[in-house]
């Protein structure tokens, strides 16, 4: 209407932006963080933890940190050599009548062997020394305190041939 006074174009709402509101519009994440921090200060940060369900009466140590060894220097300057090699294990073969019988009949060679060698070591030693395959080893300790080993070769190998090669005949 013509008579009405033209009001200034001031909006009824207060659109002036205050500082706090400005920050909240620009960075809502910061505001939530601030709120969370305030809550933490007030209530503390420990979560309400649920009790672990224990299904056994026994308490077993849980898996703990295990760092691998990383020595600054080796304790031994040189690694130990394995002295129980084929030369030490097999002392000498036997050439008695019963031993020669066994060569022909049962395809076995008898050795006097180191007392502290076990059957698998004896088998290893024989196969290394004479390039044969060992089927079985039987051992006994003689009343003299020496170990005697009866080494049966696998059927592909002839004990007689090996005996010839060694020099037993």
């Amino acid at each position: 209407m013509a008579g009405k006074k033209v009001k200034s174009n001031t909006p009824k709402q207060d659109l002036s932006v205050s500082k706090s509101k400005l920050t909240s519009i620009k960075a809502p994440a910061a505001a939530t963080k601030a709120k969370a921090a305030a809550v933490a200060v007030k209530k503390g940060t420990s979560n309400k933890s649920t009790r672990k369900v224990r299904t056994s009466v026994i308490f077993r140590r849980p898996v703990t940190l295990n760092n691998p060894k990383k020595p600054a220097y080796p304790r031994r300057s040189v690694n130990k050599i394995n002295k129980m090699d084929q030369f030490r294990i097999l002392k000498a073969p036997l050439t008695t009548e019963s031993a020669t019988q066994k060569i022909e009949v049962s395809n076995t060679i008898t050795f006097m062997v180191d007392m502290f060698a076990n059957k698998s070591q004896v088998a290893d030693a024989v196969s290394k020394m004479y390039e044969v395959k060992v089927k079985r080893v039987n051992t006994l300790i003689t009343p003299r305190g020496e170990k005697k080993a009866f080494v049966t070769l696998s059927p592909e190998f002839e004990a007689a041939d090996v005996a010839n090669k060694i020099g037993l005949i």
Binding site: R75, R76, V78, K91, A92, I166, G167, L168
Partner: protein, 126 residues
Amino acid sequence: MAEKTKAFELRTKNKTQLLEHLKELRTELSSLRVAQVKSPNPSKLAKIGTVRKAIARVLTVFNQTQKTHLRAVYSKKSSSKIPTDLRYKKTRAIRRRLSNKQAKSVTLRVAKTATNFPQRVFAVKA
């Protein structure tokens, strides 16, 4: 095989050569042992002794040279980083004693008094 293995000749050889030589000697020894059992021949029996000593010589040279090389390698490092078998052995008790430096160490105060007030020696004039 040579008449007599000599250590100084062995020292000229390198590691692999020594180990090969050792293997030859040991196979020879094993064959001699077979002969010892089967048909004792006095010449062969005498040879057993020389072969055994030769083996000992080779092993001694091998181990000695190995150790000296290792010591040379580790001599550049600080004494706390050397393998324990290359350190001085002495006795267990001696190794746990205070070192000379530690035993002689003295507070600054004591050192100063010692320098400023040493033990005086006087002589009575006849």
